[in-house]
Amino acid sequence: MIIELGHFALILACILAAAQAIIGFTLWRGNALADRFVSQAAILQFALVGFAFAALCQAFMADDFSVQLAVSHSHSLQPMLYKFTSVWGNHEGSMLLFVLILVLFGAAVAAFGRNLPSDLRTLVLSNQGMMVAAFSAFVLFTSNPFWRLDPAPFDGTELNPVLQDIGLAIHPPLLYLGYVGFSICFSFAMAALISGKIDAAWARWVRPWTLASWAFLTLGIAMGSYWAYYELGWGGWWFWDPVENASFLPWLSGTALLHSAIVMEKRNALKVWTIFLAIITFSLSLLGTFLVRSGILTSVHSFASDPTRGMVILAMLAALIGGAFTLFALRASALRSGGLFAPISREGALILNNLFLSAATAGVLVGTLYPLVLESLTGARITVGAPFFDITFGALMVPLLLLIPFGPFLAWKRGDLGAVTQRLMAAIIVTVIISLVVYGFMGFPISLAPIGLAIGFWVMVGAIADLVDRAAFGRTGFRQSMARLRGLPRTAWSTALAHFGMGVTVLGVVCATAFQTEIVTSMRQGETVDIAGYSITYEGEIHTDGPNFSADRGSYAVISPWGGERTITSERRVYPVSGTPTTEAGIGTYGFSQMYIQFGERVGPDARVARLWHKPYVLLIWLGTIIMASGAFLSLTDRRMRVGAPAKPRRKAKLAGANK
């Protein structure tokens, strides 16, 4: 009964969204009633889809195997958490999650967008409603999660054991919050094109949504990467897999959007470009979610396995993206560009940033789609794998990373590169010293790694230098500088934080790639192997049973170079319901580094294959992304984000006092 109510709620939400779109698009101009209707419809949709989603969750968690989806993706023996995550560990459920987040963002605009002009709000919500209607119809007609099965089987067939992990609870929701968050930017862009009002204020209104989506997407990708790292079992953290590329593309263009929107907000320039990026970013998100999901991107053959779903997706994408770009082409030429600026200026730096990020986006997109296009045109089959992306993407990132510290130092309109370099001189010297010291510790090897490290240090030191310079350390008294530092707008802190995080990630990537050590060997019980200063002794195995699996667990005693000893265990599991084997890597964390142990096949009465990796500073990769995302979240708390919110007079007075 509950599941039928949920089904019905989704149907209602779909109809309501369609009504919202039709009424909103026809009556948006200066109609208070239409404005109220679309706002309330947005909030009501959230309640309805939320109920539908809860109904589905209830079915999974209560082991209701009369629901077809629960039968094919859950099992009564699964721990409760995995019964819950099973809801979106499949196509139908994940599409419902997509719709849920879509209406969540719509409701958020209705709830927090009180200070938006009425016309703009109506148009944004109408556009959002149109998408809700389209995607919930897609769910209802081609991927309905609410179908019953009669007679109901006794039990389900289990969630893919590889997915039975806390990662499934974290990664997809975060990723979707990012993907779908960009739908708001897209709706804002559509609203701007329809109403013709595109100005600095628009950029300011969109900015919090871009920031939030970008932060969620950053975390989503990073958590997915960490999940793959510990679950796939060979310690890789990025594979340039089409599926990963699909999530990376909106991140790249979203990063470009984040930066170009600043130019639009501050200088009223780059308007056409910013709107274009808003459209392209969401289009790439859709490409990520739908094309990959339908299997088109990874394999043309599985596309044929479900042609209806694939065709519907393609048609929807074509209509949505095609419509958006048609509108863009019609309206973009009418946009007046704003302020003038010299090539060497903050604007110029941000344009350069956009050029590199756009080229990177295009490069990854071409690399991902090229094999598909080539095969359909000539029949030739090629592979575009990690080595290709490492070269082309790496080549673009090096100049971009080198330029990062200059950007925040340049003045708007007209900057002085010589003066900026002078102000960055201390940062340059510090970077060179740190790099040389590290290079010395490494024993002056001939390799690219020290250059990579130097770039990472440069980005990190540059971010700190930005704060130091803004607080005028060295040019004024220490206490005054501290006061200035505290008084800096949060956006200044968030810029520095995000750039610093980027540098941290670069360090992690370089270290984990260049300095990892690996040993593949068979170990007998009691045998000891030394790796990167660690000594690892195989202590033997035991057989254990989990709630829905049985496992062989190998124990290793690990003595670190600093003397501490601990036990790391690694498992090989079998899930009897589906007969799937999985492995659980044994990971020991030492500071930012990790010892990664993979317990292998039996090669004798008391011997097992073991694959051991020492991954120095690998955690910096994900730590850096968390710092980046926290930079974005910090920026969201800036008072200036809330349009029209006056600065607290008392704080102003205090600042004035400090500056005297």
Binding site: V162, W227, D241, V243, G363, Y370, T383, G385, V520, T582
Partner: protein, 154 residues
């Protein structure tokens, strides 16, 4: 990462991410230099039955055969290029994770740099046009000049 999700959704049970691991101890060559070369070649060869894994990472039977083949060839004294050529001749270009630079892949290789250059040119040109446009607009029209001259006289 999301390939797990994919694994379920597309029901590619056969292509589910490899568990267990790739290079086995008995495959490792005694000569560390040759082994190093074998590893780096393996990282550039695709496991044909997997989704998007190199033979170095894959535990599939076919990947193992290919790894052994690469090592055999290296032990026989072939250069890296000869090994690649041999594998491509047997399995086709599809096996190379890093595509060759040839007629049919030229677009792939040059697309990114060309787009970057086009982007740069478009930016510079539009900046110059904008500048010209703005300066022209700030110039006085003939009527304005006349009026100004009148004012100056008077």
């Amino acid at each position: 990462m999301m390939r797990f999700v994919m694994a379920v959704i597309a029901a590619w049970s056969l292509m589910a991410p490899g568990v267990g691991f790739a290079v086995q101890p008995d495959e490792v060559l005694d000569n560390p230099v040759l082994e190093q070369r074998a590893r780096s070649i393996s990282a550039n060869l695709r496991c044909l039955v997997c989704q998007n894994q190199s033979i170095d990472d894959s535990d599939a039977e076919l990947a193992r055969d290919l790894r052994l083949l690469v090592r055999e060839r290296l032990v026989a004294g072939e250069t890296d290029t000869e090994v690649y050529d041999y594998v491509v001749a047997r399995y086709g270009e599809f096996v190379l994770l890093r595509p060759v630079f040839a007629g049919h892949t030229i677009v792939l290789w040059v697309a990114t740099p060309i787009l970057l250059i086009i982007g740069l040119i478009v930016t510079i040109v539009s900046a110059m046009r904008l500048r010209k446009h703005k300066t022209e607009r700030t110039k006085l029209t003939k009527e304005e000049e006349k009026a100004l001259a009148q004012l100056r006289k008077g």
